[in-house]
C-alpha cells in the first residue's frame, strides 16, 4: 500500500501519538526531535517526516500551537502577568512570546485576554479540555510564512495608496 493519507502503519501511528501526547502533557518543556523520536521509538530522520504525514504539521509547529493554546487559556482563566504566562508556557523571553503570539493569533496577549474573558461565560458546562482544544490555533502554515504574508499584504496596501 502506498504511503497516502491513510497508508501509515497503525502501530507506527500509535507510537507517534505517544510523542504528541507527551508534548500535550508538557508543552512548556523542550522537545527536540531526538527526544520525540525516542518516545516514538523511531529514528530522528524518520520521525519528523512521519509525524508531519500523520498529523498534518511538523512537530515543532504542533508544539507551538499547544503553547499558544495554553497561554490563551491562562490569559483567560488566571490573573497571572503576561511575563509569567510566557515563562510558564515554555518561552525563553517575553519578546519572543509576544511576537509569536501576535503572529499566530493576530492579536496581542492583552487583547486576547480581554476578548476571551467576555466570551468565556457561554461555554461553562463543556469539559474544559475540549473547550481548550476547540480554541487551539489552526496553524496550517509556518509562523515565518504567516509573518511574510502579512508583511506582503501590508506592503501591497501601502503600495496601492501611493500609486497615482
Amino acid at each position: 500500500m502506498s504511503e497516502g493519507a491513510t497508508g501509515q502503519d497503525p502501530e507506527l501511528l500509535r507510537r507517534l501519538l505517544r510523542a504528541k501526547d507527551r508534548m500535550d502533557a508538557a508543552s512548556h518543556e523542550h522537545w527536540p526531535v531526538r527526544r520525540l523520536a525516542r518516545v516514538s521509538r523511531v529514528s530522528e530522520a524518520h520521525f519528523a517526516r512521519s509525524f508531519r504525514q500523520a498529523f498534518g504539521v511538523p512537530p515543532h509547529r504542533y508544539l507551538l500551537t499547544r503553547r499558544i493554546e495554553r497561554a490563551s487559556a491562562l490569559l483567560r482563566d488566571t490573573d497571572l502577568p503576561v511575563t509569567e504566562i510566557a515563562f510558564q508556557t515554555g518561552w525563553g523571553s517575553l519578546g519572543t512570546f509576544g511576537r509569536i503570539f501576535r503572529d499566530v493569533t493576530g492579536d496581542s496577549p492583552g487583547a486576547i485576554r480581554a476578548r476571551s474573558r467576555a466570551a468565556a461565560q457561554e461555554l461553562g458546562p463543556v469539559p474544559t479540555c475540549h473547550v481548550s482544544a476547540a480554541q487551539r490555533p489552526d496553524l496550517t502554515i509556518a509562523v515565518s510564512e504567516k509573518r511574510r504574508r502579512v508583511a506582503r499584504r501590508y506592503k501591497s496596501t501601502r503600495g496601492t495608496k501611493e500609486m497615482p
Binding site: 500500500m1 501511528l13 500509535r14 502533557a25
Partner: protein, 135 residues
C-alpha cells in the same frame, strides 16, 4: 429506563487486548461476547451503569471493506476518534489504581473548575478524560 442510548461502540485494534484493558484494568464487566464467523459482538458495561453498554469492535469485514478498515485503524491509532469521558468518585485514587495496572496516562490529575480531571488512552489510542464527580 425503557428509552435511551443502549450501546455506543468504540473501534479497537484488537478485541482481546481491549477486553483485557476495559475489564481487566478499568473494572468493566463483559455484557455480551458473541461470535459469528469472523464477526465478534463484544460489549462491556460499567458496574454502576448496567443500562449502558460500551461496544468494542474491530474495523473490518464484513462491515467495512479492507481500505476503509485501514483508514479507521489509522484514525484510532492517531487518536482522531471523538472524546470519551469517564466519571469517577475520586480521580486521584482511580489514577493511582489504573497506573499500577499499567494504564497509559496522557494527563496527570489537575484541580480545576471545582473538580479534578486526568487523561488516559486505551491501547488502541482512544482517548479518555477522567472527571471527578462534583459533590
Amino acid at each position: 429506563m425503557t428509552q435511551g442510548v443502549q450501546v455506543v461502540g468504540l473501534y479497537v485494534r484488537d478485541q482481546d487486548e481491549a477486553l483485557a484493558f476495559y475489564a481487566g484494568k478499568l473494572g468493566f464487566r463483559v455484557h455480551m461476547d458473541v461470535k459469528n464467523g469472523d464477526f465478534r459482538w463484544l460489549t462491556v458495561q460499567h458496574p454502576d451503569q448496567p443500562s449502558f453498554q460500551l461496544g468494542l469492535f474491530v474495523p473490518g469485514p464484513p462491515v467495512l471493506d479492507a481500505a476503509t478498515a485501514q483508514t479507521v485503524r489509522a484514525m484510532v491509532a492517531k487518536g482522531a476518534m471523538p472524546p470519551l469521558v469517564l466519571v469517577v468518585d475520586d480521580c486521584r485514587a482511580a489514577c493511582d489504581r489504573m497506573r499500577a495496572q499499567g494504564v497509559e496516562f496522557t494527563q496527570e490529575p489537575v484541580d480545576r473548575y471545582g473538580t479534578v480531571d486526568a487523561g488516559f488512552r486505551d491501547p488502541s489510542g482512544n482517548g479518555w478524560k477522567m472527571l471527578q464527580a462534583r459533590r
